[in-house]
């Protein structure tokens, strides 16, 4: 068994392609994409918040006071295009304010004056601009209503039965957690990328080279041969995972964290915990990919299966992204999901819940061992041994 293990390691270390793919590109892929994504997102967000707001207005002449107010707030009022709807639809403008000719009449009559915001709410990037415009409009609306009430001798507070205050308990770390929602996926994917090539090479590759039949004639129980191969594959997955985590820690140092008013709690200590969490997932990935690759007749056939499997660790990440909920105990018992939620807890700077970590590691290890056991029986099937006949 150890003989198989050492040979597979030696064999694959000789392959420069494997080394580049698995030990260099694999660990760097996540951090680089992630860092680029995050810094782009934050730069966009800051730009949108701080850049002067340009607002095309239709019918500005109907409400000179409102326009004055907006200009005092630093909004740059511009000429609206002839066809505002078309301009928004074609994404020339994000938001257009339209004041109808009946604005003045309603205003004079003391009725709610109609103001129209034209925007496409399905365009996510326009959200910030819309809420900024809304904020200005609400501010003016509040000012005017206070003045009106005061004129009639009513204390403005009467119209505010509730004084709502939100006490934000989010820490810089926990806000960072939101930004990092996809971090677990990028970490988990490294164990799949790390084991992929090796899983194919040791099974489908062995068939393609026609070296499987002679190998199995050696006086070694077949499960031991498979165990040696799985061990080597897992070792590669762990190396990729470790390198990937270190790369993440380094990459996080380059992010404009200060601009985001968040702290990314991803230092070496957190990385060590994450490594511990994902280590059983490395065996899981290795066993899963090995089982698939063992059925393939050639390298290429195996690779086509792998593309789909890479999506598997994505499912829990997407689920958390769409439906972000608190970590609950049952989640920590689902392999891959548990790594997702617990890594998120870690980077949000929450204290380590040893029971949850234990559950995650135990259940993932169990699933991994079941898969490994299945893999161990594969070479008892004659149709997986012979390339022909």
């Amino acid at each position: 068994m150890i003989g198989v293990y050492l040979k597979e390691l030696l064999d694959n270390f000789r392959d420069r392609r494997v080394i580049i793919n698995t030990l260099i590109l694999g660990p760097l892929f996540g951090p680089i994409i992630f860092a680029v994504m995050i810094s782009f997102m934050t730069r966009q967000a800051t730009e949108r918040m701080e850049a002067p707001l340009e607002l095309p207005v239709v019918g500005a002449e109907h409400a000179p006071n409102l326009i004055n107010f907006l200009e005092r707030q630093g909004v740059i009022i511009t000429e609206a295009p002839v066809d505002p709807e078309a301009a928004v639809r074609q994404e020339i403008e994000e938001v257009i304010l339209r004041l109808g000719p009946d604005f003045a009449a309603a205003w004079e009559a003391g009725q709610p004056a109609p103001v129209e915001l034209i925007a496409d709410l399905s365009l996510r990037y326009s959200g910030t601009t819309i809420s900024r415009v809304r904020g200005y409009l609400n501010g003016w609306s509040g000012q005017v209503s206070q003045l009106r009430l005061q004129l009639r001798g009513v204390h403005p507070d009467l119209t505010r039965p509730l004084n709502i205050q939100v006490t934000d308990l989010s820490t810089p770390e926990s806000r960072g957690g939101m930004v990092l929602a996809f971090l677990p996926y990028f970490i988990l994917i490294t164990v799949f990328m790390g084991s992929m090539h090796m899983a194919i090479d040791t099974t489908a590759g062995e068939r393609e080279r026609k070296s499987l039949e002679p190998l199995l004639i050696n006086p070694l129980p077949r499960w031991q041969i498979m165990a040696g191969k799985l061990g080597a594959t897992t070792t590669f997955a762990l190396m990729t995972l470790g390198l990937g985590l270190v790369a993440f820690v380094v990459a996080m140092g380059f992010l404009p964290v200060a601009d985001m008013d968040i702290a990314l709690n991803l230092d070496l200590r957190v990385a060590a915990w994450a490594f511990l969490l994902c280590a059983p997932a490395a065996l899981l990935a290795a066993a899963l990919l090995t089982i698939l690759a063992a059925f393939a007749k050639s390298f290429r056939e195996a690779q086509s299966y792998m593309g789909l499997v890479i999506l598997v660790p994505m499912i829990p990440s997407f689920w958390i992204l769409i439906d972000p909920t608190r970590t609950e105990t049952w989640m920590t018992m689902v392999p891959l999901l548990s790594q997702n939620v617990l890594i998120l807890d870690l980077v949000r700077g929450e204290p380590v819940n040893l029971a949850w970590f234990g559950l995650s590691i135990a259940t993932t290890s169990l699933a991994a061992l079941v898969l490994a056991a299945i893999a161990g029986t594969l070479y008892n099937r004659p149709n997986l041994i012979f390339t022909s006949g």
């Binding site: 000789r14 080279r209 026609k210 070296s211 039949e213 002679p214 199995l216 004639i217 006086p219 004659p382």
Partner: protein
């Protein structure tokens, strides 16, 4: 010493009969040749002997041991050069052989010593420390033989050993097999080349359509068929010349 008794193997749930009640014996100190056209069932028979396939029925013994009872013991007793001689391209010839030695549980000193012997006997000095990527057929077969015999097995099975070899390498191979025979080992090889059995084998088992068509020494086969040349004898015994002379 190999004894096969009415071995039968079918594929596709019995629809394809690959080997149909094949019986033969291969004594120690002799070279036994399984001769037959392509697809006659030679490889399947050998695969049952080296325990990679389970026979549907029939029994076999290698040195008195039933492979089905003690597969690992049989694998230690056998040296097999199967039809597929895949080597690991990124490893050197020496590393390929050493790997199999390790799998047999041999210690490094023994492995090194035996590799040196093979280098001498099989004339592998020129390429023993080169990566096997780009090896010629002859070089590959030599490595495959060395790794299969690293544990000095008493019984040696070779599936089409001279496939794709040039004349010189074939001669060297035959010399090597005679040497094994002289050491008192039991050598079984399968081939579809008639000259090979004629030149090398003490006993000939002719297999056609999954069955044993005839068994015996070259002289016995000649006598039984009433022909004067081995070639005619084979054609007569098989019933056709299909595939044999290819």
């Amino acid at each position: 010493m190999i004894e096969a008794n009415k071995l039968r193997k079918t594929f596709n749930k019995g629809k394809v009969v690959a080997v149909d009640e094949v019986s033969f014996s291969a004594p120690d100190g002799q070279i036994t040749g399984l001769l037959g056209p392509n697809g006659a069932g030679k490889t399947t028979t050998l695969r049952m002997l080296y325990t990679l396939l389970k026979p549907d029925s029939g029994s076999m013994r290698v040195d008195g041991i039933d492979p089905e009872d003690a597969p690992l013991k049989i694998k230690r007793a056998l040296g097999v050069v199967p039809d597929s001689r895949g080597l690991y391209d990124r490893l050197t010839a020496r590393e390929n052989i050493r790997y199999y030695g390790r799998l047999h549980g041999l210690d490094s000193a023994t492995i090194s010593r035996r590799i040196e012997e093979f280098v001498r006997v099989l004339d592998m000095g020129e390429f023993i420390d080169r990566k096997t990527d780009g090896f010629s057929q002859g070089q590959r077969v030599k490595v495959a033989i060395a790794r299969a015999l690293i544990h000095e097995p008493r019984t040696v099975l070779l599936d089409e050993p001279s496939n794709g070899l040039d004349v010189m390498t074939t001669r060297a191979l035959r010399g090597f097999l005679r040497e094994l025979k002289a050491q008192g080992r039991c050598v079984v090889l399968s081939t579809h080349i008639m000259q090979e059995v004629a030149a090398l084998c003490d006993r000939i088992v002719i297999i056609a359509h999954g069955r044993v068509a005839a068994e015996g020494t070259a002289d016995e086969l000649l006598a039984r068929s009433g022909k004067t040349t081995l070639e005619d004898a084979f054609v007569k015994l098989i019933g056709s010349d299909e595939g044999l002379l290819a």
